[in-house]
């Protein structure tokens, strides 16, 4: 490892170079009352050996999804990743390329991005996909910025409470200083009631945003919502689950204007906080408002097929402070993984994966709700994730099940205090019948041994 030293002599030489004698002199322009005037409250320096041991110790406190039976979801899922994804995306030609600023010299990267865009457009049923974004939350926020740009005005954004709460937080952060209000529409039944939207939508609205399947795992009335939005000249935005589109209708088929997604399901391993993959697709008429860059296919002067960066003038390196988006670094490697994943599965494989998720999730729901005191929280169709009400203290219950090797689900009350007695369970194609039965058996025995959810000490 290379260290950049900053010894007393180095500091002296640097200060001499700029013609001053002390660090105090360097900081003179900062008013005294704004200075900290004490040392930073951080531990003393460690040797390399000590530091390695320290971080190993911290890292060992984590338990990875692979070390337990994982029923965790909420936007990040334990899907199977075929080995071809690592094999291709790990090739140095792809792995070391950062971003095609020397665009036309990076034909391989451009072709991969073009394939990604094509796959995303086909998957979502939309006309256009950009060349990827940070993750699902920023994709949703950027879709709202697009809607504001299309409407050429500020106003109000309506968003269903059933959208991922962290996406909502991201959106609020993006809009904090843009004079555009965010109004959250309640979803007491586990979905946005189109009748409520009809009542709440008005001429001040710019966009309506939903997620389907939503944070509770349930399907929204996407078609009705898109139609209400269209009738009111409001942009409709849907955040979707890419795997679900193996069997569900596509956002484009529902009449949605902008469709976004978290692309982690498509070949990106679970990681604490990412990096993940943002997907953003839209109708052709909004292509000039799409953030980030696109890759187009064309022919060179010899008639050979080739790829070029198009519509890149919206970005900071050309448009400077007037750029329509803060996106300049996409998640190229994860976009590549998604393209390889979908190419490897093909339409048939994606459908099979989605069907396995659907069937296993429904089997799990039937097994769990067969336990006394456990019931579905919402009576709504769901895909691979669902929310159940459980007796006792959910946090203690999850901790107990974790001790027995099961990540049984998300504590829904962490984001929705009124659902503090709920658990959101995700079931991917990787979960076996034995694992699902194991969870149900363990939950049953834990609850019957102690209805408070706490395991009895032997």
């Amino acid at each position: 490892m290379a260290y950049i030293l900053n010894t007393a002599d180095d500091q002296k030489a640097m200060l001499a170079k700029i013609g001053i004698h002390s660090l105090e002199e360097l900081w003179e322009s900062i008013p005294a009352e704004l200075r900290l005037n004490r040392a930073l409250n951080i531990p003393t320096a460690m040797s390399e050996i000590e530091l390695t041991q320290h971080f190993s110790k911290l890292a060992n406190r984590n338990r990875a999804a692979g070390e337990a039976v994982c029923f965790l979801g909420g936007g990040a899922y334990d899907h199977f990743i075929p080995s071809v994804v690592d094999a291709i995306s790990g090739r140095s030609e792809f792995y070391t390329a950062y971003t095609p600023y020397q665009a036309e010299a990076s034909q391989g990267t451009l072709q991969a991005v073009f394939e990604f865009q094509t796959l995303m457009a086909e998957l979502s049923g939309m006309d256009v996909s950009n060349a990827s974004m940070y993750e699902g939350g920023s994709s949703l926020a950027e879709a709202v910025l697009m809607a504001m740009s299309i409407a050429e005005r500020r106003g109000e954004i309506l968003i269903a409470e059933s959208v991922h709460p962290e996406y909502l937080a991201t959106l609020k952060t993006y809009l904090a200083n843009l004079h555009c209000d965010v109004r959250v529409l309640p979803t007491p039944g586990g979905f946005l009631d189109p009748e409520l939207l009809k009542k709440e939508i008005n001429s001040n609205c710019i966009a309506v945003a939903i997620q389907s399947p939503n944070f509770f795992g349930h399907l929204e009335e996407v078609e009705a919502i898109a139609e209400i939005a269209r009738q009111n000249k409001v942009i409709s935005i849907q955040s979707f689950d890419p795997i679900s589109l193996g069997i569900l209708k596509r956002p484009g088929d529902y009449g949605v204007d902008i469709a976004v997604a978290e692309g982690q399901s498509l070949g990106t391993p679970l990681g604490y906080g990412g990096p993940y993959l943002g997907i953003l697709t839209c109708r052709q008429e909004y292509v000039r408002k799409i953030p980030g860059r696109l890759v187009g296919q064309t022919t060179d002067r010899n008639g050979n097929r080739c790829w070029v960066l198009t519509l890149q003038t919206r970005e900071q390196h050309i448009r400077r402070d007037k750029a329509t988006s803060n996106i300049c670094t996409n998640q190229g490697l994860y976009a590549l993984r998604a393209a390889v994943y979908l190419s490897a599965l093909g339409p048939k494989g994606l459908k099979e994966t989605a069907e396995l998720c659907l069937r296993k999730a429904h089997y799990a729901a039937s097994q769990l709700t067969g336990i006394s005191g456990v019931e579905m929280k919402f009576n709504r169709p769901f895909f691979k994730e669902f929310t159940v009400k459980v007796p006792g203290d959910v946090k203690s219950l999850l901790s107990t099940l974790q001790d027995d090797g099961y990540f049984a689900g998300l504590q829904t009350g962490r984001w929705y205090p009124e659902l503090s007695d709920c658990l959101t369970v995700a079931v991917t194609e990787k979960r076996t019948r034995a694992e699902i039965d194991g969870l149900a058996g363990l939950l049953k025995s834990t609850l019957s041994a102690n209805p408070s959810g706490k395991k009895q000490k032997a």
């Binding site: 000039r288 003038t313 919206r314 050309i318 448009r319 007037k322």
Partner: protein, 128 residues
């Protein structure tokens, strides 16, 4: 269009004034600098424009530039054909590629604009 009858701005827009109506476009020099123009963002009819301030945007393959109004007034016509087919601006910036027509404000003053001779001198020296 007789180029001698036009007024020119330092930001490379031309203005053709007839009575209180002014037609605005960008000069051949601007087109040559921008290369392929691929998108225009023009104001709507009824919009007020102010001399020496932005009224739209011109985007070429490699750059984006603001369109600056040569004179103040109200937009009465927008060249939708050019907005839809930007090759008109590339091929005929003084004719079919005009951008907007303005009904001039009563106090619109042309003193900051150049005639053809001055504009050509300006372009010749701009890059030096």
């Amino acid at each position: 269009m007789d180029l001698n009858t036009l007024h020119y701005a330092k930001s490379h827009e031309w203005a053709h004034v007839e009575g209180d109506i002014c037609t605005v476009g960008i000069t051949q020099h601007a087109v040559d600098l921008l290369t392929d123009i691929i998108h225009l963002e023009l104001p709507k009819v009824g919009a007020a424009v102010k001399a020496e301030t932005r009224f739209g945007e011109v985007e070429s393959v490699k750059s984006v530039n603001e369109l600056i109004a040569p004179l103040s007034g109200t937009v009465i016509e927008v060249n939708d054909k050019a907005a839809k087919d930007t090759s008109l601006v590339n091929s005929d910036p003084y004719g079919a590629g005009w951008l907007i027509k303005i009904k001039l404000a009563p106090d619109a003053a042309k003193s900051h604009l150049m005639d053809l001779k001055k504009y050509e001198d300006y372009c010749a020296h701009e890059g030096h």
